[in-house]
C-alpha cells in the first residue's frame, strides 16, 4: 500500500507486564514523519518517550514488554511484521539510535574506531581495512581527530564520547535517526557543540530525526515538529509554531509556564499541581484531568480523542472536541 509519509506510526500501544500490574507505557500513539524532517518528542519522566523510541527500533524488552497494538510503517513497510533477521538489517543501517548516556552505551574494552567500524562491516560488504578507513572519516566528520581511532572510551570526555556514539549511529548514513536525550548528560557549552553537529549532519545527509528530550529549548533549535507526551499519550502535536506560539493543551501550557525563562521577569513560576498518574492505574477519563485547571466533570469519564484543530495541529482535550464543553 502507498503511504504518503516516510515514517507512519499508527495507533501504537506498548505495555509492560509487571508484578504490580500492567504498565500502560504508550497508548494509541499515532505520528507521521517526512523525509528530512525532525520531530521533537517532549515529556516528563515516565511519559513514554523512550518506550516509543524502543518500539520504533523494535527493541522493546520482551518479556515484560509487549506491543499491544499498532503498526509502524517505514517507507510503506510495517516493520513490526519483520522477523529478527530482517529487523537487524534495518537497525543501524536505516534506523539508528543515539542513547542518552554516553558513559554506558559504549563498549569499554573496544577501541572507539573498532566500534564504529563494526557497524559499518555488519551492514556493508566492506573489507576490514575499508571499514576502518570509513570509520576514520566518520570520526573526523563528528570532529574527532582520526589519530584517536585506537583509543578507548575512558580516554574521552563526556562530550567526545557522545560524538563517538553519534558517529556510530551515522556511520551507515541512516534514513532515520532516533536521538534519546543526546545532550542531557552534557554541559551547556558542550551541548551547543553537539546540537550544532547534529543539525549540520542532518542537513547534509537529509536524515529524518526523532529527538527525545524534556528540554523545550533544545527542541526549538533543532526540530520542525513537536509532539508532547503525557502518561503514554500524545496530548498535542504540530509544527514548532503551533506548539510554541499557539499552545492549546492545558498540559503543554502548564509545561511552558513552569520553565524558568531567561527572558521573563516573573518572580514566581506557574505550577502544574500534583504528579503524573501511575501508569499501572491510569484514570478512565483524561489522564491529565486531576492536575488540569480547565477540567470539567466530563473529563473524569471521557478520554478525548486527538483532534485536528488547525491543519497539522492536533490536540487531545475535551475543550477542542466537536461539541465539547467549550
Amino acid at each position: 500500500m502507498a503511504n504518503k509519509h516516510f515514517l507512519e506510526i499508527k495507533d501504537l500501544s506498548i505495555h509492560y507486564k509487571t508484578d504490580s500490574g500492567l504498565v500502560k507505557a504508550v497508548n494509541n500513539l499515532s505520528l507521521n514523519l517526512d523525509k528530512g524532517e525532525s520531530l521533537g518528542l517532549v515529556g516528563e519522566t515516565g511519559a513514554g518517550k523512550t518506550t516509543t523510541a524502543l518500539g520504533i527500533m523494535n527493541l522493546i524488552p520482551d518479556p515484560p514488554g509487549i506491543i499491544a497494538s499498532g503498526e509502524i510503517f517505514l517507507e510503506g513497510e510495517n516493520i513490526l511484521m519483520l522477523n529478527r533477521q530482517e529487523m537487524r538489517k534495518l537497525r543501524g543501517n536505516k534506523i539508528s539510535m543515539v542513547f542518552q548516556d554516553p558513559m554506558t552505551s559504549l563498549n569499554p574494552v573496544m577501541s572507539v574506531g573498532k566500534q564504529i567500524a563494526e557497524s559499518i562491516q555488519i551492514h556493508e560488504k566492506l573489507s576490514k581495512v575499508e571499514a576502518e578507513k570509513r570509520a576514520v572519516d566518520v570520526l573526523e566528520m563528528v570532529g574527532i581527530p582520526g589519530e584517536r581511532f585506537n583509543e578507548y572510551p575512558h580516554q574521552f570526555s563526556g562530550g567526545m564520547r557522545q560524538r563517538v556514539v553519534i558517529a556510530i549511529a551515522l556511520a551507515c548514513k541512516p534514513d532515520l535517526l532516533i536521538a534519546d536525550e543526546p545532550t542531557t548528560a552534557l554541559d551547556v557549552t558542550i551541548q551547543a557543540q553537539v546540537l550544532d553537529l547534529i543539525s549540520n549532519l542532518k542537513r547534509e545527509q537529509n536524515t529524518s530525526m526523532i529527538l527525545i528530550t524534556h528540554d523545550l529549548g533544545v527542541v526549538a533549535e533543532v526540530c520542525e515538529k513537536v509532539a508532547i507526551m503525557y502518561a503514554g499519550e500524545l496530548v498535542e502535536y504540530g509544527t514548532l509554531d503551533d506548539i510554541y506560539n499557539h499552545t492549546k493543551h492545558p498540559y503543554s501550557i502548564g509545561l511552558f509556564a513552569s520553565i524558568p525563562n531567561i527572558y521573563s521577569e516573573e518572580k514566581r513560576l506557574t505550577l502544574i499541581p500534583g504528579l503524573m498518574p501511575d501508569p499501572t492505574d491510569l484514570p478512565e477519563g483524561c489522564s491529565f484531568c486531576s492536575r488540569c485547571n480547565r477540567a470539567v466533570e466530563q473529563c473524569k469519564v471521557h478520554n478525548p480523542a486527538l483532534v485536528e484543530t488547525d491543519p497539522g495541529h492536533f490536540v487531545r482535550c475535551i475543550h477542542y472536541e466537536e461539541g465539547g464543553a467549550l
Binding site: 516528563e44 519522566t45 570526555s157 563526556g158 562530550g159 567526545m160 554541559d187 551547556v188 557549552t189 558542550i190 551541548q191 551547543a192 557543540q193 546540537l195 550544532d196 524534556h214 528540554d215 523545550l216 529549548g217 533544545v218 527542541v219 526549538a220 533549535e221 514548532l240 509554531d241 510554541y244 506560539n245 502548564g254 509545561l255 511552558f256 513552569s258 520553565i259 524558568p260 525563562n261 531567561i262 527572558y263 518572580k267 514566581r268 513560576l269 506557574t270 505550577l271 502544574i272 499541581p273 504528579l275
Partner: protein
C-alpha cells in the same frame, strides 16, 4: 549592613596521583543576609567543592570563611556542631542523599535528636517534624514511609525539611532541582523562595542551569576551573557579560521560544585539566579573544564597573568592553 557570610582567598586543593588538583582557587565573595547567591559553571569548575568547603564538609586548604562576623575557617569539633545549626545543605541527588533504611520522620528528626532540640523531648520533636513536613508540602501520612517509596520531588522535599530541622539561617543548595522534571522543579523552586521569605534564609544556589539561576538569584558568580571569572547582580549579568566565557555560556542556553534569531558563540574544545594549572588565564585555550598576555599572566578579579567584577586581561587593557567574536566562532540560530 554586615555580610552574613564572607569568603576570603578560599582555596581547596586535592592531592591526586597526577598532581595537585585546584578545585577552588582563591575565591572571594560576600553574601548579605536574606540574599541568594547563584554559583554557575560547568561540571568540574569547582562549584560543588566550593559549597561543601563553606559548610565544612571539606576542610579548606587555605583562606578564610567568616560567618556572622566570626572566623570559622578551622572550627573545633564543638564549634562545628554549633555551626551545623546555623548552616545546612541540600544535596543534588534526592536518591542517594537519604538513608534508605530510615523513615521520613526519623530522617528529619535525627538532627533534632543529635542537637537535643526542644529539651530533648521526643514528642515535641515529633510535632516539629510534622510541622516541617507541612511546611515543605509533605502529607503527614508519609511520615512512616521510606525514601524508595517516594518520587524525586517528594524526596527533595525531605532533603529540604531535613536542612530546615535545625532552623539554620544559611543553606547551601547544591543543584537541588537538576534531578527533577520541569513541573516538579517549578514546585521545589517556588517552595524554596517561599521558605526564604518566611524564615529569612540566605542561600548559596549552585547550579549549571542558567535559567534556574536567573530565576532565583540576586547575585551570580560565574566559575571556570576553580576561579570566579565574573561576578555581579543577576540583572547586570543577563543584560551584558564582560568575560568571554560568561558570554559563551549565556549564548549557549537553549531558549524555549520560536521566531527569534540569536548569535551563539561556539567554544572550541573542552574544559582543560584543573591539575597543576599553569599561571595564566585558565580560559586561554578556548578563548576566541586571547592575546599573548593571557598565556603569560593570570588575570585578577577586578571591579570594572560598579558592582561588576571580571577576571580578564582584555578588561584591564581597556579593550573590548563590547567583545566582538570572530565570525568563525559564531553560529546564528534561527528558531
Amino acid at each position: 549592613m554586615a555580610s552574613l557570610l564572607e569568603v576570603r582567598h578560599l582555596k581547596k586543593y586535592f592531592q591526586t596521583p597526577s598532581g595537585t588538583l585546584h578545585a577552588v582557587d582563591d575565591v572571594n565573595f560576600a553574601i548579605e543576609s536574606g540574599e541568594t547567591l547563584g554559583v554557575v559553571g560547568e561540571s568540574g569548575c569547582g562549584k560543588s567543592t566550593l559549597g561543601r568547603t563553606i559548610v565544612h564538609l571539606l576542610a579548606p586548604t587555605s583562606g578564610q570563611i567568616i560567618f556572622d562576623g566570626k572566623d570559622i575557617s578551622s572550627p573545633s569539633k564543638k564549634e562545628l556542631k554549633q555551626l551545623r545549626k546555623e548552616m545546612q545543605m541540600v544535596f543534588q541527588d534526592p536518591f542517594s542523599s537519604l538513608n534508605p533504611r530510615m523513615t521520613v520522620k526519623s530522617i528529619i528528626q535525627e538532627a533534632m535528636e543529635i542537637h537535643k532540640l526542644y529539651g530533648g523531648d521526643r514528642r515535641r520533636q515529633e510535632q516539629e517534624v510534622f510541622k516541617l513536613m507541612d511546611t515543605v508540602g509533605l502529607a503527614k501520612r508519609l511520615a512512616d514511609s521510606y525514601p524508595h517509596e517516594l518520587d524525586g520531588g517528594r524526596r527533595q522535599r525531605i532533603g529540604i525539611a531535613r536542612a530546615l530541622a535545625l532552623e539554620p539561617r544559611f543553606i547551601v543548595c547544591d543543584e537541588p532541582v537538576s534531578a527533577l522534571d520541569v513541573s516538579v522543579q517549578a514546585q521545589i523552586l517556588n517552595l524554596m523562595q517561599d521558605l526564604q521569605e518566611e524564615k529569612d534564609l540566605t542561600y548559596i544556589f549552585i547550579t549549571h542551569d542558567l535559567s534556574v539561576v536567573k530565576h532565583i538569584s540576586d547575585n551570580i558568580c560565574v566559575m571556570y576551573l576553580g576561579k570566579i571569572v565574573e561576578q555581579c547582580s543577576t540583572d547586570k549579568l543577563f543584560e551584558k557579560q564582560y568575560h568571554p566565557y560568561a558570554q559563551a555560556l549565556l549564548s549557549a542556553i537553549p531558549i524555549p521560544k520560536v521566531g527569534i534569531q540569536r548569535k551563539r558563540i561556539l567554544l572550541k574544545g573542552e574544559i582543560t585539566s584543573p591539575i597543576d594549572p599553569k599561571p595564566c588565564c585558565r580560559f586561554v585555550a578556548r578563548c576566541p579573544h586571547a592575546i599573548s598576555l593571557c598565556s603569560e599572566e593570570e588575570p585578577k578579579l577586578l571591579e570594572v564597573e560598579e558592582g561588576r567584577f571580571v577576571a580578564c586581561h582584555l578588561q584591564k587593557i581597556g579593550r573590548a568592553v563590547e567583545l566582538t567574536v570572530p565570525d568563525a566562532d559564531v553560529v546564528i540560530i534561527n528558531q
